[in-house]
Point group: C3
Chain length 681, copies 3
């Protein structure tokens, strides 16, 4: 991934599907694109049937025409492979390649028609189409990047077809080598599942009761692996002909079906799709998680916001439109967190089909609309931020993010249906976001050097090796802060020998005797330094060994017992929070853990998001006011849009964005003069 | 449909299934029928296996006996074909004829066992049984009408079997002639669905994601067509032998799966089934919609209330029984809105089976019950209303009712799950019902001449041609009143070129830039002439062109922007309401639109339903007091039950009904002396 | 069932699955078992694949080792047959034996892998494994009992496979002898279902609408029968070799899928599994129902609590842990109600699999935990209660409990979804539990001699013969108390000739004209002796014949009409409550019916559960204080733990249990000096 960035300046554009329109419209579109400052479009993603009109029969004429047109107009192309939607002829010829659900339903054509990633016919077909495209366009001057497939794992990530079963057996043989090892890993002595032949193993399809969780976890890993093998097959087929960087669009903090840590290793450039959760009045926080996670997947290097939306989407229950300015705030938040290209789904809104109520850069109502005016304005802004390109974001705090743990936690029959990793991740991230303390995401096996504080909001599954990595981080002086239900099981979803949390028992200085879920709607309180904080859903019966009890339960299942503990371990400190703590309690604990860790944070007024990128061209602060009222900020530097020095204090209007090239002598924003609690309210 | 009415006087009776009882019970039943004044029963609907005991083997003996018995007792027969429930032997011999669900489940026997309407074996079988019945009973003196099948479309209207797929392809070839036309109509360039062969097209069964909405809409049309072809096949088989009128029972405002406008053309007499929504404390409003729609389907001619219930039904979650007098009020409301026969499901309640908790004319507890006493009383009343037969109802207001639009709106991925056509239809109908302004229903393609006001509560889909029809109505002097989300798409469910509402943009004098759904539970207010009215779920970003802004948004997504507009177009006026307006706002807007249109309305006290029928024998007003307290009404005429002149004012007891033969010099009830708002409270 | 009890003293132990652990752990386990006083463990239930490693190939070595080890340590064994989980090789070889759902999904391996009880291959296999085990261990000194299968009916009781259809036809031929009889019983004239061949009859799988309820009810009976035939096949295979008593674990008041009255006849010793409903803050009441029902199934003889939990389970939505002392209170409540052995699932908690979050006697956190300490303490207590063994419980009150009626009531399309038998059973049981009036459960066909009061909270289905049995009970002087919706249908789920309740019309002295469900959330009141009591969901239109109206409806659908009636019939009295009466009303009616019946009750403070067992060794009162505050009780006798005379009054600490050997001259606890109403608050 030492790939050269494919575009000069900040990339700007979107998915473009001109095959939906008459040829005359293409010329209009290109005119509008130029008006909007668009310099990058993705094409071809849904055009398999128009390129390979029958098996092995290709027609590139319209695509030649399109790429030439775009190139003549100075618009670079991210050329997609159309493998997320095999053609009707493929389904008709290879019906056995269809995705089969857990209940045995073979999913047909007529939709975003993905087939089984384990289908041999599909593998053959994707290599053929990817090779054909690469061979023809490897040297087309418009093509600056390849975009394989679309959103791997959506809309379906698991397939229970016969081909999948055969492939699963192969994958298992590779992983376990012996049936003994598999039987042990899966605990097949439970419920009489001992295997005496590889041929007896199936996919974890519908069964009379809940299916073996170890098997299901392995099937999730297998399914991820199979999808990735499809990507690799296409990537290698392209690389055989073409030298441009290759990407595929992730869905960080939006889809949890594929293990993006593994995927990030395989792409040249990390790209992400992100859509706001319309029901969330502070959807910008979920966006920040997604952007921070994407940057972390990219190893800190710049990445591409490949798809977001100019306004509402079409697939949520209530597709709330974006308010005026919200599109720009979203775009700039992505940029602030490391994106060097800002693209949308899609350039021109589709009149037909499933996504016709999805917003676009050119909406149904045309150019004389609020949305297109904002698109043009955003293009102008991005055009002035070329110096930001290539700069990076620094974080002292890391959150553990582990897809396999999430898959395992989401299986059936956990102690309480009310405790979810998504909710906890968001709950613990929020005070950092409000305080503008930048956060990276890491896998628990990663090298944690350089971080002062590691937060584990939802690390249900933790291997012994990864536990040792965390313990070493603490021993070396790091601060570790874990939420409840941590390290319950090992990487086979088996309870750790010695009980819950056993491999981190010395790290946290406690033992966990029992999980104590609450009844629906019940709440409890914990006392921390004389103040009572609310919590719900979950408590634990913990026994302090070396840890100090920081907070005790006031009520709930174990009144008087320890609720939050703090342990000194080697040079570091480890906090354990044994309940589903509410917002105020989390903020208090984070404040103390941040202090323990010596993490610095900038001073910003409530509602203002502030992130700094630093690179060869200097340091750049992006300040976004998410509130409707103006705010004041202490910064020193030059406004990158006006090129004028900014006043001190800087006043940011409600809803406004300011990008500041920081004065080199004042690059740091971190002067923690105000109390942490005040900042987060 | 110049059919002679099959019965003298008002028809009265119900479904009669004597095959469930010993022969001796039949004699008792006929005695009770005579006691109740019953003159019409439907028989045979569930008796296929008893008539055709094996394929091609017939036994008519019991049916001969039954028809003779009924005829001897002066009870006319509506003879049913039993094709809604093919026999066990049919299922056993033709398992491939079973209905297959979207998920691929073949639905078996043991229920109301409908099979696929596209099954060739089924088509052959229904023609055989219908022919055999017609041949035998064409000249039986008891048989005055034929009743084909039962409630087409319920319980299943769509079938995804192989036979259905083959038939769908044939239907598509017929409709589109070329694959190019189909590809264009379905927008198959979206999500890579381009077809290169008719053989690749399937039913829109379960797929990895949402299926092409144009395909689903066509499949709904196809499914409706297939069911109708079954009806036509039976009807023509009967007509080859028999001259009596042929009907089938609709389910207006109760089942939306078949396009009743198309069906109404095929029957000799329109019949309807209607059951109250038990959860609705004002279920009489839904009944009125059903009755008005049925009358409109019948082209204004009299129709048959073929099935309603004497008390509770069995298939709702909580089957609330009817209160004393409610059965008569329901019956008379149907009669007031055009029904010339009042029938029930069923004469004698079934002891066995799925419907045993459904009420009947003769309930399980027998003749010495409230229900049977009310049945007898209703028979007496109807016996005195013979002069009403053949009279018709006049309306100046028409509501658009378009099944295809409803099918399209019900598909997935619309902007908000909270906006439904059923709710809007009811919400806009209510103020007319409360004000006793009679309403017809029309399809947007219909000739609108003669109406003063056309209301479009839920016309999501609108073809360009139908839009032109509405525009011409306005230009000629009509008033058009449309709710939000109108004319979003064309008849392929594709967004109109030019954007939402484009083909009516000049009619309403506005452009719609964007739909703005609200979050769950959020509300907003609009200001209209200084008063604030509540709304929720939906707003739109609209730009007035020639329209005047009548109301603005106070809050919600676009505070200060236009919410309700009024446009003068040619000789007429067009109102657009861009939000899901609440009851009070709707009432206010309706008041103004009614005034614009010059629609007249009678003066009635709250809670009294009043409808007038006029015919060769005079004008008849039916007044129904739905409240428990007495009300007074200004009418001039003779009470048709007592044959005495009615006093002025006429006092109607709580729950009572009065039918008045109006004095010719005072036929009009319309003296709008009270404010509209007061009447609707 | 004159079986000798298999263990000296009270049995204590649990399921033990050492195959999940290294051999070394077995020795540790046995040490802990001895420390806890464990004298009985169940083994082998999930070990089919480890015993029969391939079809017909057996390996008993590890089981030999295990049984020897247990025997050496004085721990008796309940040896399980592993037939609830056929091995992977069985599924692979006989895929057609899989359970098929109503929707046609064949359920696979990987779970608690039950197959179709109608599969011939399965029948053959279970006889082979049961025979092999019995042959080998018939004379092993550790084996004191055989435990066939596990929880028959869970997780699936019905199977719709082809094998099931064939077996269903055979069962129907046996039951009905002629198709005429079947057609009549099923009312196949309804909805056109008349059968002309046995070969046309199928399982009541998914159909276009609701399936014939008579057919579904027969299919439920058939499914129960097939499971029981599997049990009998295994039992007889074991008995051919071995003489120890044979049991299988029931799930009384927890699973309703099998007719335990029929099963109880087939076992030598009745065993039960019971798990608290975590969402219920008074789950001890559901436990008491389960225990009373189990004792009744055992014909009053002692039974085995074969599985309950030391703390939380894993399969509920929120698996609330037991509070300190709650395990002992639960255990002693079972013992008080007739259990002579107290066992748990399971001895050592599984690290792997679906149940790893289920509590155990040895929890994941090991011996140094609250749970293991309580396990040891309970073992000590039970060790001192040997004299209680064999004593029995006496009841003057019987509740009707009829699985077939429950199956029928649970079918679709009943008058209201809000009226359920589980809720009514609990609601009517509660005042008896609070008053410590011991209750037996009986089937309505049972000999009711000896009972003073029979309560029918949910007897929806009642055959004419069983109605005659109840009528005779009343005529002979008994008191009968029935809730609403009683005797609606006969044993074919057909409405009784003459209407609802017809066969008990003379018993109750009323006729039921109509059921009157309420809308969701609606409530009503009834007036009884001047006091108003709340009710909801349901009312009935009843006509008193000879009955006296005890309470009238204040509001609801029939204000002023009779709500509760009392009829004198022969020497007895019959009460009918026609609405879903609330707690206070139920308590009042029970008080009056108890008085009518002359039922005696002990005097106990609120929150204290008190049950007496009497046998050859004397009378033993078990008092359990479920509240957190102390209570005082008037008893005379000796504390069985301390062997000291108890003081008068006896003070029981909050949460504590006292077992008293009653002084022979004061065996009776029944001095009703306080009002019933006060006791139940």
């Amino acid at each position: 991934m030492t790939t050269t960035w494919p575009i000069p300046g900040i990339g700007y554009g979107g998915d473009y599907n001109p095959e939906q329109w008459p040829r005359a419209t293409w010329d209009d579109d290109v005119t509008l694109m130029r008006q909007a400052g668009i310099n990058l479009v993705s094409v071809g993603m849904w055009a398999w049937a128009l390129i390979e009109t029958d098996e092995g029969v290709f027609d590139f004429s319209w695509l030649d025409d399109l790429l030439d047109l775009l190139h003549r107009n100075g618009i670079a192309v991210d050329l997609g492979t159309p493998t997320a939607a095999p053609p009707a002829w493929f389904f008709a010829k290879y019906p056995e390649s269809r995705v089969v659900t857990r209940d045995g339903v073979a999913l047909g054509f007529g939709s975003r028609g993905m087939v089984s990633p384990s289908s041999p016919a599909y593998r053959e077909a994707i290599v053929r189409i990817a090779s054909a495209l690469a061979e023809r366009y490897a040297h087309h001057p418009a093509v600056v990047m390849w975009h394989v497939h679309n959103e791997y794992g959506a809309p379906v990530s698991e397939c229970y077809s016969h081909a999948s079963v055969l492939a699963f057996r192969t994958w298992l043989r590779e992983k376990y080598q012996s049936l003994d090892a598999l039987n042990h890993a899966w605990g097949t002595t439970v419920w009489g599942q001992h295997y005496t032949s590889w041929e007896h193993i199936g996919a974890p399809a519908a069964a009379p009761s809940v299916v073996n969780p170890s098997q299901r976890l392995d099937f999730a890993r297998f399914s991820d692996h199979q999808l990735r093998q499809c990507f690799i097959a296409e990537r290698d087929a392209i690389r055989a002909h073409a030298a441009q960087p290759i990407t595929t669009n992730f869905m960080a903090n939006q889809h949890w079906g594929v293990n993006l840590w593994e995927w990030a290793r395989e792409v040249d450039i990390v790209s992400d799709d992100h859509y706001l959760v319309a029901a969330d009045p502070e959807a910008e926080i979920g966006l920040a998680i997604a952007a921070d996670l994407t940057r972390s997947l990219a190893g800190g290097r710049p990445w591409i916001m490949l798809e977001h939306s100019t306004s509402g989407v079409n697939w949520q229950e209530r597709n709330v439109a974006k308010r005026p300015g919200e599109m720009a705030r979203n775009s700039m938040a992505h940029l602030a967190r490391g994106a060097d290209a800002i693209c949308f789904f899609q350039v021109r809104g589709a009149r037909w089909g499933q996504e016709k109520f999805h917003s676009a850069m050119i909406p149904h109502a045309g150019r004389d609309t609020r949305i297109f005016r904002e698109v043009v304005a955003l293009g102008e802004t991005l055009g002035q931020l070329g110096d930001v390109r290539g700069s990076t974001v620094h974080a002292e705090v890391a959150f553990l993010w582990d897809f396999e743990s999430m898959w395992a936690q989401d299986l059936e029959w956990r102690p309480s249906v009310d405790l979810g990793h998504k909710e906890r991740m968001r709950a613990w991230y929020e005070p950092f976001w409000r305080r503008n303390i930048t956060v990276d995401f890491v896998h628990p096996s990663h090298d944690l050097t350089g971080y002062r504080l590691v937060v584990a909001p939802a690390q249900y599954l933790l291997s012994k090796a990864d536990a040792a990595n965390l313990d070493a981080f603490v021993a070396r002086g790091g601060t570790l802060l874990a939420s409840c239900f941590t390290a319950a099981v090992d990487d086979n979803d088996a309870v750790h020998e010695g009980g819950y949390l056993a491999p981190l028992s010395e790290t946290f200085g406690i033992r966990v005797h029992e999980y104590l879920p609450l009844r629906q709607g019940d709440a409890l309180r914990v006392a921390l330094e004389g103040t009572h904080y609310g919590a719900d859903v979950w408590a634990e019966d913990i026994e302090p060994l070396s840890a100090q009890t920081v907070a005790t339960y006031i009520d709930g299942p174990v009144p008087g017992a320890p609720a939050i503990t703090r342990n000194t371990r080697g040079e570091g400190v480890a906090w354990y929070v044994s309940t589903r703590l509410g917002t105020e309690g989390i903020t208090t604990v984070v404040e103390q853990a941040v202090t323990d860790a010596g993490v610095s944070a900038p001073v910003t007024p409530p509602g203002v998001e502030l992130v700094t990128r630093t690179g060869d061209n200097g340091s750049f602060a992006v300040a976004i006011n998410h509130r409707d009222t103006p705010a004041e900020l202490q910064l020193h530097g030059t406004d990158m849009i006006t090129n004028l020095p900014i006043p001190t204090p800087l006043r940011i209007d409600g809803g406004a964005i300011v990008v500041v090239r920081l004065t080199p002598e004042h690059p740091s924003l971190s002067t923690p003069t105000e109390s942490f609690m005040e900042r987060t309210n």
